[in-house]
């Protein structure tokens, strides 16, 4: 449904006046049907049966906006849901902030909103408050989205670096590199046809099941930007312990590996959007793995390594497929395709 027959966003849609009111009531609101939002108050009033909460925020600027397996809207919901999930909480509510460029097609906006709506429903989370701003063409690369999320901490669950100890096992719920390489395969400048699909999905229901059915999970994180390499280095640095993983135990889709080989990427540094890394006590590791494997989002779960004592400085080491050893360093922060 378009307002006043506009097929593109105008600056006036963010102006706080009639056009914006119509945009919110007729386009945005219907996508997210819930009491708190419907009030359209300056703040959402929530009744949350706990004072032990998790709160997070993330901004989404992905390009291209639409990709195999998802889009910026789905990402904006799942990404924030996952941050709440790996902190050991059950997501309850999200805020949604849109910054839209003048000239952005309405049709695309509606698609994105539909995606957000679907993702929110699938993850049992409500969009309770939001904001819409418009900016001049070129100032926001089509659309930027920010979501902040509130979650209720699961009872008896305490996840944190300080709990990690030597001997703990490291579990991942599936293949790595899918999201990052899918995005790359659809970038305008180096587009290639590919069966690759982003693994973008909300993990909260999965992590809650895991946390409620095993004790012994000490820490979790979702390896997004910077990939598994960044996450493991963060864990090592923050805990002061070292990590040893085995390349042969890290699940990778052959199409992802081939694409990475062609472009010169190291899959360890490529972003994931439907994965978590869990640090688990050795006694619970097998239980944890079995629960994962019986879950649709964890069929390829694997124990990839363990936490070890630090000899000199905390390092992340990997035993390679040929039985060699190498250090897995913190990635630069922007991996580029190479030909050398």
């Amino acid at each position: 449904m378009k307002t006043e027959r506009h097929d593109r966003i105008l600056l006036a849609h963010g102006g706080g006046g009639q056009l914006m009111d119509e945009l919110i009531r007729h386009v945005i609101l219907p996508s997210f049907d819930n009491e708190a939002l419907a009030e359209l108050g300056d703040s959402a009033k929530l009744n949350v049966a706990s004072n032990s909460l998790c709160f997070t925020t993330d901004s989404y600027v992905v390009k291209p906006l639409f990709f195999n397996g998802g889009d910026i809207g789905k990402l904006a919901v799942c990404g924030t849901v996952n941050d709440l999930a790996v902190a050991g909480s059950r997501p309850v509510a999200l805020s949604l902030s849109l910054i839209i460029e003048d000239g952005f097609e309405f049709e695309l906006l509606e698609k994105i909103l539909a995606s957000i709506s679907q993702a929110a429903r699938q993850n049992n989370v409500a969009i309770v408050t939001g904001d819409t701003k418009t900016v001049e063409a070129g100032a926001a690369d089509k659309i930027f989205i920010n979501t902040a999320g509130l979650g209720v901490r699961l009872a008896g669950v305490d996840l944190g670096f300080q709990r990690i100890a030597a001997g703990d096992k490291i579990v991942i719920n599936g293949t790595i590199g899918d999201h990052g390489l899918t995005i790359i395969s659809q970038r305008a400048d180096i587009k290639f046809q590919s069966p690759l699909q982003s693994d973008c999905v909300g993990l909260a229901e999965f992590t809650c099941e895991l946390l409620e059915n095993t004790s012994g999970i000490k820490f979790m994180r979702d390896p997004t930007r910077g990939g598994l390499a960044a996450t493991l280095n963060e864990v090592s640095r923050s805990s002061g312990l070292s990590i040893e993983i085995s390349e042969a135990d890290i699940p990778v889709n052959p199409a992802v590996q081939a694409a990475a080989d062609m472009l010169g990427f190291d899959v360890l540094t490529v972003a994931n959007e439907g994965k978590f890394v869990a640090i688990v006590s050795p006694e619970s590791a097998n239980d944890c793995l079995n629960i994962c494997k019986n879950h649709p989002l964890g069929k390829k779960a694997s124990i990839i390594g363990e936490v070890v004592e630090t000899r000199d400085v905390p390092v992340v080491e990997m035993v390679t497929k040929i039985g060699g050893k190498r250090i897995v360093q913190m990635p630069y922060g922007r991996e580029l395709p190479r030909i050398c």
Partner: protein
């Protein structure tokens, strides 16, 4: 594959034990350097087999003068820069291409054809193709030079930074004090030039030359062959990359290189001038030469006096023995290729402070564990 790795590993160990001294093998190609690192190959080799990372990363040996030309052109409103991703972070005097990307006239391409297409799609701009790489990549540039000529794509030009492998190897092994016992030769350069091209290194300098691909098994088998030769007191030319390498190479590719380019003296970062070691567009195609188009001469660029990359490359000194290391030369502001290359000896040393994996020798304290490059 694991049993073949084990076999090759044992061969290396036996040969090295028989020789009873340190063996230095130079792996010339940047892709070998990366593969050796990623697969943890050093950690499975005998202690006295040392791998030297050679000047085989054509990006890293690209002089600052060249980068400065590219950056200068990137600043122009009438230019679009088409470059392989490798070049984006190489530093010049005023920054790198990465810092220029905000201007949106720097485009990453995967193929020279993409660069030519960019010119066709943007007739109002001059597209400058940053053509770096060894003999593997030079034919791709030659193809588009020919196509540009045939189709009169006059807004396309090439800034050739192509370098030749054998002259660099010759220069290194001609140094009086070099420490190189053998060469692991680049697999894909050899696809083009044929493994026969390394014959002069074997015959004139008595060093084993073995061509290997980039899979870990290839590298270990290549090293095993070098060790075997050394322990038998021999120097031979061999290839373990039968899947794609022949003695004569790809003659169609060689022909097209010859048609479009001629060897010229060139400057290699950290190594100085090497005779007939770079490719320059022949007169027939000189109208596509960016240097001519914009009337520029390539200068040597930043003063690299004090840079001892040449000695590091030859295995004569450790990075820490270079006076510039960690002071004027760091990964953020590198001087020589050993620091520019993220896997170069100096960059690796800087990052890990000499830490070897627990599978290798000693572990030393890092001065800079927190530096995230």
């Amino acid at each position: 594959m694991l049993d073949r790795i084990q076999k090759a590993k044992t061969l290396c160990e036996t040969a090295c034990k028989a020789l009873g001294r340190q063996i230095n093998v130079m792996e010339v190609c940047g892709t070998h350097t990366v593969s050796i690192f990623r697969n943890g190959i050093r950690s499975i080799l005998p202690k006295n087999l040392k791998l030297l990372s050679g000047p085989g990363c054509p990006v890293c040996v690209t002089g600052q003068g060249y980068i400065d030309i590219v950056l200068g052109l990137a600043d122009r409103d009438d230019c679009l820069i088409a470059t392989y991703g490798d070049m984006i972070r190489v530093p010049g005097k005023t920054g790198s291409l990465e810092t220029k990307q905000a201007k949106a006239n720097v485009k990453v391409v995967l193929s020279s054809e993409d660069a030519l297409q960019l010119a066709k799609d943007n007739p109002e701009k001059i597209v400058v193709f940053v053509a770096v790489g060894f003999e593997t990549t030079a034919p791709a540039t030659a193809v588009v030079a020919k196509e540009a000529a045939a189709e009169s794509i006059d807004n396309f030009c090439i800034l050739s930074g192509h370098k030749l492998v054998v002259p660099a190897m010759r220069a290194l092994v001609s140094e009086k004090n070099h420490n190189i016992d053998g060469f692991l030769c680049p697999g894909h350069v050899s696809v083009i030039i044929g493994y026969g091209a390394f014959a002069e290194i074997v015959e004139k300098f008595g060093r084993p030359c073995v061509v290997a691909g980039f899979e870990p098994l290839q590298i270990v088998e290549g090293l095993a062959e070098i060790c075997r030769q050394l322990s038998a007191g021999r120097a031979e030319l061999k290839s373990v990359y039968a899947a794609v390498v022949t003695e004569d190479g790809n003659t169609a590719a060689q022909k097209i290189i010859e048609e479009c380019f001629e060897p010229a003296d060139g400057y290699w970062r950290g190594l100085g001038k090497i005779e007939k070691s770079t490719l320059k567009l022949k007169d027939k195609y000189s109208r596509f030469d960016a240097l001519k188009r914009f009337n520029i001469t390539e200068t040597q660029g930043k003063d690299t006096s004090g840079c001892r990359c040449g000695e590091v490359l030859c295995g004569l000194i450790e990075p820490t023995e270079c006076g510039l290391f960690g002071q004027n030369c760091t990964p953020r502001e590198p001087v020589g290729p050993c620091m520019v290359s993220s896997e170069g000896a100096c960059a690796a040393w800087f990052k890990y402070g000499g830490i070897k994996t627990s599978g290798e020798q000693e572990i030393r304290k890092s001065g800079d564990q927190e530096t995230r490059i």
